[in-house]
């Protein structure tokens, strides 16, 4: 009787061992890229789109990004990612990797396993591998660095009625700095990001309004140029103590705010990269 009990018990164990385990893993076919500015951290920029060799698909069209997830092709071991930025510039990243397939189960089918991520070439200033094996769920695999250029100041136009403040979006046909003819000024709603002259202590901007009027704005500042600790980068010029020294705008007041686009107040008086809003100008 004792023997029979033993074998019944063991038979139950044996049958339980025949069960297939649950499907628990899927493809790890996405890589995570994080954009960063050397010395400053997170980089935020606007993409026109990202395109990838071997597919017509377009990724992240007209999107403000600081990180992206991009797919890997299981049938290839190399892909070129083409980043088209809002300002018209283009960056490329050639990524090599190892792709393997594995059958998982009748229910789950197969999975694709990617590893050995290797950025072979790129137009970015620097690319660092954080994790050469994509995870599930996807996480950061590569950090893409850009050399810092903290040479842009930000102003935001506002209106004040009583105690109520509201944004004032100017309709501007062009903004021209006094030291560069082809001035790249980025306007985001009521805010303007203005390039500062590294060779002088003031920069004056002409705002050519859509109605034909021209307004001026002069900023003064202190400059500090030092060599970048990053070998691949040129020297970096920091601007501090920015002041509005003259303007033809019909202003009621100005306010130093030093606030990032996200709303967080920056304690340092230096310019930053990506640029922050340094002043509110009340019209």
């Amino acid at each position: 009787m004792k023997k029979v009990t033993w074998f019944v018990f063991l038979s139950i164990i044996a049958i339980s061992c025949l069960n297939e385990p649950d499907c628990y893993q899927l493809d790890n076919d996405e890589i995570g890229l994080v954009f960063s500015v050397m010395e400053f951290g997170e980089d935020i920029d606007t993409l026109r789109d990202i395109r990838i060799s071997s597919t017509e698909s377009v990724f992240y069209p007209n999107t403000i990004i600081s990180a992206v997830l991009l797919p890997l092709n299981p049938n290839l071991d190399e892909l070129e990612y083409i980043f088209q930025w809002e300002n018209g510039s283009i960056d490329t990243l050639l990524l090599r990797y190892k792709s393997q397939i594995q059958y998982v189960s009748e229910d789950c089918g197969q999975r694709y396993v990617f590893n050995n991520l290797n950025p072979v070439s790129s137009s970015f200033d620097s690319v660092r591998i954080v994790n050469a094996s994509p995870g599930y769920p996807a996480s950061t695999n590569l950090v893409i660095y850009r050399c810092a250029k903290p040479d842009v100041g930000g102003v935001r136009f506002k209106r004040k009625e009583g105690t109520t403040e509201s944004d004032s979006v100017l309709t501007v046909s062009a903004v021209v700095a006094d030291f560069i003819t082809d001035t790249q000024v980025k306007q985001v709603g009521p805010s303007f990001y203005l390039p500062l002259n590294k060779s002088a202590d003031t920069t004056t901007f002409e705002f050519k309004m859509a109605d034909g009027d021209v307004e001026n704005l002069s900023l003064s500042y202190r400059r500090l140029t030092r060599k970048s600790p990053i070998q691949d980068c040129e020297s970096v010029t920091f601007f501090s103590r920015i002041k509005i020294v003259a303007t033809s705008f019909d202003t009621t007041s100005t306010r130093f705010i030093n606030t990032a686009p996200s709303g967080s107040v920056i304690k340092s008086t230096n310019t930053r990269d990506p640029a922050i809003i340094n002043f509110d100008i009340f019209l």
């Binding site: 033993w6 385990p21 049938n75 059958y103 009748e106 089918g109 197969q110």
Partner: protein, 216 residues
Amino acid sequence: MISFATLAQEKDTVKIKPDFRPTGLRVGTDLISIVRSSTDKTFTGWEANADIDFYRYYFTVDYGSWGRSYSSDTNSYSNTGNYFRVGVDVNFLKKDPDRNMFFFGFRYGVGTFSEDLMVVRTSEIWGPLTENFSNNNVSANWFELTTGLRVKIWKVIWLGYTARLKFGLSTGATPDMMPHDVPGYGRAEEDSYWGFNYQIFIRLPVRKSGAIPLKK
């Protein structure tokens, strides 16, 4: 006074030197593999087992073969391979007159297998991903910790089971396809894996069994 008592106690103990000469060769097969081969359409396999005793230590050898086959609308997988294991079991039922066993042991497993996978899939991004993959004559080895029973049922007929904790799987290079199922081991992506055999044996005596060494 103390030394006389100690001497008297020593004289009451009869020590019998362990006899390491084998008394029988046990050969058998795994019943689960046989039953599964006839009831599970995705599995075919068999396994033969043998052990021989050296006092309470049993040198064991297993040899087997299995293959699996799965197919669906989007994929088709099959594998086949052979394997063997060698190792030692230690019997912890020292005083059983029938030499029934409750044992712990270890094994070293070695196998060779081949597998094929066909995938029919369309990706929204990459388009058709239809492809055939294969691994041919891939070697594998692993380790096992074992435990189980061997029970004499009738004359030379024995039944038993072996539970196995398999671990440390290492396979040869498989550049395009990671192995799914290694015959003798199981699912290759598992760092450790349980196995179970339910076995029937015939024990062939090679000499008359001596007395089981006992301590009085």
